[in-house]
């Protein structure tokens, strides 16, 4: 039996949350996100610079000796919670979590690995891990891309999140010696930008054929990739929590103001009960998300269980919160003008990201010894 995870927020984490919120309140209200999503630059590079460089968020997970903040998954989770609460279009998840965790699983004594991590931590480079956003931990190493002995790649990777904002890709590819990770300059890669369901997290289809990658030395590239996907899944729960909390807060606020039948709509018991149920799901989601973040941070022996529980639960809560918010907003929630749809689309896409709730339940069944019928 492992000890109970620390499910609270530390003072440092509360300060971090306040700092990120301050920046976003100034620079990135949902109306600004909405105005940008259909432009050629859905990302806000200046906002990312402030978050990555001035607040040092790009290097949160990077140890201090490699130029980072030496923080843990707990702090990264708090950042994602705030970013989710604004559907903020910055590549924090793709670069500072996914690509960074994959690189930390490589040989960080290697000068090339250390240099890349240093640039990412400093915010002078931004990276993306070249896997589909739907890739899940616990699966086989991807075989979509192959590498020859010279590091020349063949293959395509589709639906890569945050690649649009990246100048460097970390590409999992099967080389002559088996699974490996390769550093690729984004400028060398022809990329197509499909129309994404979630406009605030653009996707890219990368054609890597003929592109030369620099091998990133690692003892176990498959383990490094899996750790990145596990971390992504566990921390995504905090982003989903942020989405759900925004939907709940916004709906409570709206129902407290809107009048129909000569009454505040929020005084009708049928609506209050729906919001009370939603509130309970959101506070439960917070416990699950904090559990996953703390387990990732502490290296708990049951981290796989904590992450699967968080994804199986919180992903669905975010979707339900957005769907309830839409219904309870009535007609205004159906309009493009209202930012609610950004959160619905983020929640629905996040449900697929790093594996669906059903996939995590299936994985959990194996992990906790509750086998499906044979």
């Amino acid at each position: 039996m492992t000890t109970a995870p620390d499910l609270l927020y530390s003072d440092v984490e509360d300060d971090l949350r306040a700092a990120v919120r301050d920046v976003l309140a100034d620079r990135c209200p949902p109306s600004a996100v909405l105005a940008a999503v259909e432009t050629a630059t859905p990302y806000d590079p200046e906002l990312w610079r402030v978050l990555a460089v001035e607040l040092g968020l790009a290097g949160l997970l990077v140890p201090e000796k490699l130029g980072g903040q030496g923080a843990s998954a707990r702090e990264a989770a708090v950042v994602l919670e705030v970013l989710g609460g604004g559907a903020v279009p910055v590549p924090f998840l793709g670069s500072a979590v996914l690509a960074t965790t994959a690189l930390l699983g490589c040989d960080t004594e290697d000068a090339g690995v250390a240099a890349l991590l240093g640039r990412l931590a400093a915010g002078t480079a931004t990276a993306a891990l070249a896997v589909p956003l739907s890739a899940a931990t616990g699966g086989a190493f991807p075989t979509a891309v192959r590498a020859d002995a010279g590091g020349v790649l063949t293959g395509r990777v589709t639906s890569v999140a945050d690649a649009l904002a990246a100048d460097t890709y970390v590409v999992p590819a099967v080389g002559p010696d088996g699974p490996g990770l390769y550093e690729v300059a984004a400028a060398d890669v022809p990329a197509v930008r499909p129309v994404p369901l979630d406009l605030t997290r653009p996707l890219s289809d990368l054609d890597l054929s003929g592109v030369t990658g620099r091998p990133l030395p690692s003892a176990d590239a498959a383990a490094a990739l899996d750790r990145a996907l596990l971390t992504g899944a566990g921390l995504l729960a905090s982003e989903q929590l942020g989405v759900a909390q925004w939907c709940l807060d916004e709906t409570v606020r709206y129902l407290g103001e809107r009048h129909q039948f000569g009454r505040v709509v929020g005084s009708f018991q049928s609506l209050k009960h729906r919001l009370a149920d939603l509130w309970l799901e959101v506070v439960s989601a917070r416990s699950a998300a904090r559990g996953a973040a703390d387990s990732l941070a502490s290296g708990a022996s049951d981290v796989d269980v904590a992450v699967c529980v968080a994804q199986a639960y919180v992903a669905a809560v975010a979707v339900r919160a957005a769907e309830e918010a839409l219904q309870l907003h009535g007609g205004i929630g159906m309009t493009w003008e209202h930012p609610l749809h950004l959160f619905l689309k983020r929640a629905k896409a996040d449900e697929i990201a790093f594996g669906t709730p059903g996939l995590h339940r299936a994985r959990l069944a194996d992990l906790v010894g509750l086998p499906r019928p044979t």
């Binding site: 209050k272 009960h273 009370a276 509130w279 069944a365 086998p371």
Partner: protein, 394 residues
């Protein structure tokens, strides 16, 4: 840390002077109370040391390790969780020194006379009357859903003392002697076959004014203390291990009986397993908040979550059992002292869990409380708040 060290020392002194093996359990419990180690957050002289509530865990762990007898808290839960904090807050010095020690040691069992057949969710509408007669009050009425009434020495009671004012303002809070000849306790058989609860009929019961808790007409406020402490007691329990609740029972059946497994049941099992684990984590989070002295609103939601989960999990369990689910352990009418979900069969769990969303505040009332007190939504328009109780339609 110094305080904790002091506590451990006190426990060791207690054990040295009153070796638990060498004396009657009751004498040991009395000595423990007198040493201030009963409930350390109570004041000195009343079984405590005026320390934070969280320090109690230190004492309990040390005494459990030494094999000391405890006061069987499940048997006296109403006294410990509801009566004691209310007496502490509103009682006179005489009341505190008379009632708290035997309450804690379990010598005197307490029950709660709040709900009535006509006053469930709308508790403040209660109609049991208390009329002043010299130094006494004379009480007539009927109470219901009273656990432990047949074992109880004392009851906490709320009764209407002024029907001419709005309902919340005409209630007074008393300590009622359950041995009074006007008290009649009848078992109330429930759908499980047994009778955990009772109906209590009060006919000309005399209560000395010295057994009133709080001011005349202030009983509703006093009762809020009782009910709030009930919720704190729920939230501050021990850490529960994974699969520690009802889900563990179903999971064990699943593992032991592969022939019962179907894909559809597996899907539902895993959904409930996840929800049970998340509810466990939320309980743990509430516990950690309390330990840091910063209770959050999550506690109010936990009962809602556990009620639904217990019902769904026990329903799944009966279904999973297939042919065995057609049978029931025993419908014999008994009067158990405690509720034991795990000592009985799945059918019992299924039926008993139905009460989880009714007892201690229905899930519907709890949703109102969350919506109004946590989310700040307005209450439904009401007509009963300012009218005199006697003029309300019924």
């Amino acid at each position: 840390m110094a305080a904790e060290k002091g506590l451990r020392e006190r426990v060791r002194e207690l054990l040295a002077e009153h070796g638990p093996g060498a004396m009657e359990p009751l004498d040991f419990l009395r000595a423990r109370f007198d040493a201030g180690l009963a409930w350390v957050h109570f004041p000195e002289g009343l079984g405590g040391l005026g320390l934070p509530r969280t320090e109690q865990a230190v004492v309990d762990a040390e005494l459990a390790a030494a094999g000391a007898p405890d006061n069987d808290p499940r048997r006296i839960g109403i006294g410990l969780g509801m009566a004691a904090p209310t007496i502490l807050r509103y009682g006179t010095e005489e009341q505190k020194s008379r009632f708290l020690r035997p309450l804690w040691t379990g010598e005197e069992v307490w029950c709660q006379l709040f709900s009535e057949p006509g006053a469930g969710s709308d508790l403040a509408g209660l109609r049991t009357r208390a009329v002043r007669d010299g130094d006494d009050w004379v009480v007539d009425g009927q109470k219901v859903w009273t656990s432990s009434a047949h074992n109880a020495r004392w009851a906490i009671l709320i009764a209407r003392t002024d029907p001419d004012v709005p309902k919340h303002r005409g209630i007074t809070y008393f300590v009622c002697d359950m041995t009074d000849p006007g008290v009649e306790v009848r078992p109330l058989r429930q759908i499980t076959g047994e009778a955990e609860f009772n109906e209590v009929f009060l006919s000309g019961v005399r209560i000395p004014d010295a057994h009133r808790l709080g001011d005349v007409g202030d009983g509703w406020r006093v009762a809020q203390t009782t009910l709030m402490n009930e919720r704190v007691a729920i939230g501050s329990g021990q850490a529960v291990p994974r699969e520690g609740g009802m889900i563990g029972t179903v999971a064990a059946t699943w593992r032991e009986r592969p022939e019962l497994r179907t894909p559809e049941l597996h899907d539902r099992l895993m959904r409930l397993w996840v929800e049970a684990e998340v509810a466990r984590l939320t309980g743990e989070r509430v516990r950690q908040q309390l330990a840091h002295g910063a209770p959050g609103p999550e506690g109010s939601g936990l009962k809602l979550a556990f009620a639904r989960l217990n019902q769904q999990i026990s329903g799944l369990e009966v279904e999973l059992l297939g042919e065995d689910g057609l049978r029931y352990g025993d419908w014999t009418m008994v009067r158990p002292q405690i509720v034991d979900f795990y000592g009985r069969d799945a059918g019992y769990r299924y039926l008993r869990a139905k009460g989880n969303s009714i007892e201690g505040g229905t899930s519907e009332i709890l949703r109102n409380i969350v919506a109004e007190r946590v989310l700040g939504l307005p209450s439904e328009p009401r007509t009963d708040k300012d009218a005199a109780w006697k003029d309300l339609p019924r």
